[in-house]
């Protein structure tokens, strides 16, 4: 292919003429796919030492933990609320800093780890307060929510071109999950069932159904793209 403006012969990799910037296009010629000379990434990754970042996060974790420990201890010589604060900080660390220890953190592994950590934290609170809401409420709610999120994350990572189906299905599942939450609230805390959960259920089902409709119907999808592109 030649540039129609400056006449230079262009390699198959070029979408624009490197000399004059004219877009390469010919209605009758289909150009063969060619691998670009360099990756299409304008900004290289910053060269930061992961050990330095991880060290920074550990210090950021330890300093508030130490402050909480001393503050709690100084009040009456006992540790009352330190465990909650430390657990919260650890949750934050697991969610943000732990994946940075790995070169290519896989969300399919780290997202379930986060939910498991939340469950452990809630179990600790339940145990410390001598309550009995963990098994009947916290475990099924966090577990159910985690199951939906983990399934979506795994599907997004391993299934190609299915984002609309995955999000559509996910939204519908969240709608159903709302019913479950209200039902569990009824069982555990005696709040009457079927009061509010129908509204988010309808909204999520409509949203999810709409996305699945767009996934199935190509012309509707194109029409939406045309109207919503930015």
């Amino acid at each position: 292919m030649y540039c129609i403006n400056c006449g230079v012969k262009l390699a198959d990799t070029e979408k624009k003429c490197p000399l004059c910037g004219t877009v390469v296009y010919h209605p009758d010629i289909k150009r063969p796919e060619a691998r670009p000379l360099y990756p299409n990434n304008r900004t290289p990754k910053p060269q930061t030492n992961p050990k330095v970042i991880n060290g920074f996060f550990i210090i950021m974790l330890l300093i508030p933990m130490l402050i909480c420990f001393l503050a709690d201890l100084k009040r009456d010589g006992n540790l009352d609320w330190f465990g909650y604060a430390a657990g919260g900080l650890l949750l934050g660390y697991i969610a943000i800093a732990l994946p940075m220890w790995f070169k290519r953190p896989n969300p399919v592994i780290f997202v379930p780890c986060n939910f498991a950590a939340i469950l452990l934290y809630l179990l600790y609170i339940n145990h410390t307060l001598d309550s009995n809401w963990f098994m009947s409420f916290a475990f099924p709610v966090v577990g159910g929510f985690g199951l939906i999120v983990c399934a979506m994350v795994a599907l997004m990572r391993y299934v190609r071109r299915g984002a609309l189906y995955i999000f559509g299905g996910g939204f519908i599942a969240f709608g159903g999950f709302m019913l479950l939450v209200e039902f569990l609230l009824d069982i555990t805390f005696g709040i009457p069932f079927i009061a509010w959960s129908v509204y988010p259920l309808i909204a999520f089902v409509l949203l999810g159904g709409g996305l699945i409709y767009l996934a199935i119907n190509k012309s509707a999808r194109e029409s939406m793209e045309r109207k919503l592109f930015f």
Binding site: V8, A11, L37, Y38, N41
Partner: protein, 429 residues
């Protein structure tokens, strides 16, 4: 139990030419260049890692890191080869001080391409090419089980490096009478570099036969011919920007000269100087043949053992002056940086470095598709140009840190006028 004492790794003084590069560095610029080989098949990174391990041991002066002494920088052999990187973005991404302290060269893989980027203090284009040839030879031997003969720069990698390879040939071949560095400033278009540091690469693939035929017609070599094309393009570019002929400045092209062709050196360190043909556009328009003659005669006059040894003597005299040697490194850096800014780069519009036609053992040829040589941009000028020939093609890589491809357009226009068809490719898509 006796404690095993770890022997410190060997170290080397920087050669005469290498001394300026660490001092001339800026916060966003260092003098780095790249050579690459593109194979027909994708690169097996594990095999390349193993090949690199063997190769770095053979080239202790190149596989090195830059360290700081009290009075001078020095090179120290790296303990282990650097991690092989994947190509991330544009070539010759800024090499910062921390990286140089760890290892002053990089090995980068992109599908079927092996690229090595060298900080210029390690070696020059010729030394780098030998390193790359040996790395690729070792890779091909390990990957395909072939046996590559020791010819055309491929060395026995099991042997220890000879003293000749490690020597600073500048000190050996310096003349007795120093030459002069005095010369006029060159024209440079004032341009603002791109804020994100992106380096645009434009590669012209030119059939070698077309260039050879025309070069023979003008009775010059390929280097002279391509330099003439570049100078003509620079003249046209200046004419487009500066309409008043009296206000035009000299067009000067820096052409590196491999001193191993003049002196019997086998050094794998820096051993290159340069010649700078110049044209004064105020004197009138230049015909292409006229430009060829200017370059040819300048090269003929300057690329002689006597002239080059006097130029070497000038550089070496500064280095061996006892007063200069006793100045602490931070002060020396300040002075060297000032010298580099005032006389180093301002004396030419850009560099056109030609590594020539690469010869390889026949058995390697069947695995190799192309080769590239990319210079980094200069510290204060937007362009540079590296050229290498492999097979039946010249690969001429322009690099720039500004948006517009003005010089490339003028360069192509001159080629087009000469009847040469070039295929062009870039890293902007």
């Amino acid at each position: 139990m006796t404690k095993k004492i770890k022997k410190p790794l060997p170290w080397l003084r920087l050669d005469n030419a290498a001394k300026i590069y660490p001092a001339a560095r800026r916060s966003n610029w260092s003098n780095v260049f790249r050579q690459s080989v593109t194979l027909y098949e994708d690169i097996d990174t594990d095999v390349l890692r193993s090949a690199l391990k063997v190769t770095v041991k053979r080239f202790p002066s190149i596989a090195a890191r830059l360290r700081k002494g009290l009075f001078w920088y020095y090179l120290q052999q790296v303990e282990s080869p650097p991690e092989i990187r994947e190509e991330q973005s544009y070539p010759l991404i800024f090499m910062n001080n921390r990286e140089m302290r760890r290892c002053a060269f990089r090995v980068i893989v992109y599908h079927n391409r092996i690229a090595v980027e060298f900080f210029h203090s390690l070696t020059d284009g010729t030394g780098a090419l030998i390193f790359l040839k040996n790395l690729v030879a070792e890779y091909l031997e390990q990957k395909y089980g072939i046996s590559v003969p020791f010819e055309h720069g491929v060395l026995d990698r099991q042997k220890k490096p000879s003293a000749e390879e490690m020597e600073d040939s500048f000190l050996k071949y310096a003349g007795k009478v120093p030459g002069s560095r005095r010369s006029a400033d060159a024209w440079r278009k004032a341009v603002e570099p791109m804020s994100d540091g992106f380096l645009s690469l434009t590669c012209f693939n030119i059939p070698i036969k077309d260039v050879l035929d025309l070069a023979h017609k003008h009775k010059v070599t390929v280097t002279v011919f391509m330099s003439a094309v570049m100078m003509k393009a620079l003249l046209n570019w200046q004419a487009e920007n500066v309409h008043n002929i009296r206000a035009r400045k000299r067009i000067k092209l820096l052409i590196p000269v491999n001193l191993r062709q003049i002196f019997p050196s086998k050094s794998l360190r820096n051993f290159a100087l340069y010649t700078v043909p110049e044209l004064d556009p105020r004197l009138g328009d230049y015909e292409f043949d006229e430009i060829c003659r200017v370059i040819q005669h300048t090269m003929g006059l300057e690329i002689t053992a006597k002239h080059m040894s006097s130029m070497i003597a000038k550089n070496v005299n500064d280095e061996i002056n006892p007063l200069v040697r006793l100045i602490p490194l931070p002060l020396k850096n300040l002075v060297m940086k000032a010298v580099f800014e005032s006389v180093g780069e301002r004396k030419s519009c850009l560099t056109l470095s030609n590594l020539g036609l690469v010869k390889l053992p026949d058995i390697m040829g069947q695995y190799i598709q192309r080769m590239d040589f990319i210079l980094g941009v200069q510290a204060s000028a937007p362009y540079n140009c590296g050229m290498i020939s492999y097979g039946d093609t010249i690969y001429l890589n322009f690099i720039r840190n500004v948006r517009d491809a003005e010089l490339e357009r003028h360069f192509y226009a001159v080629l087009q006028q000469m009847g040469i068809t070039a295929t062009v490719e870039s890293n902007r898509n």
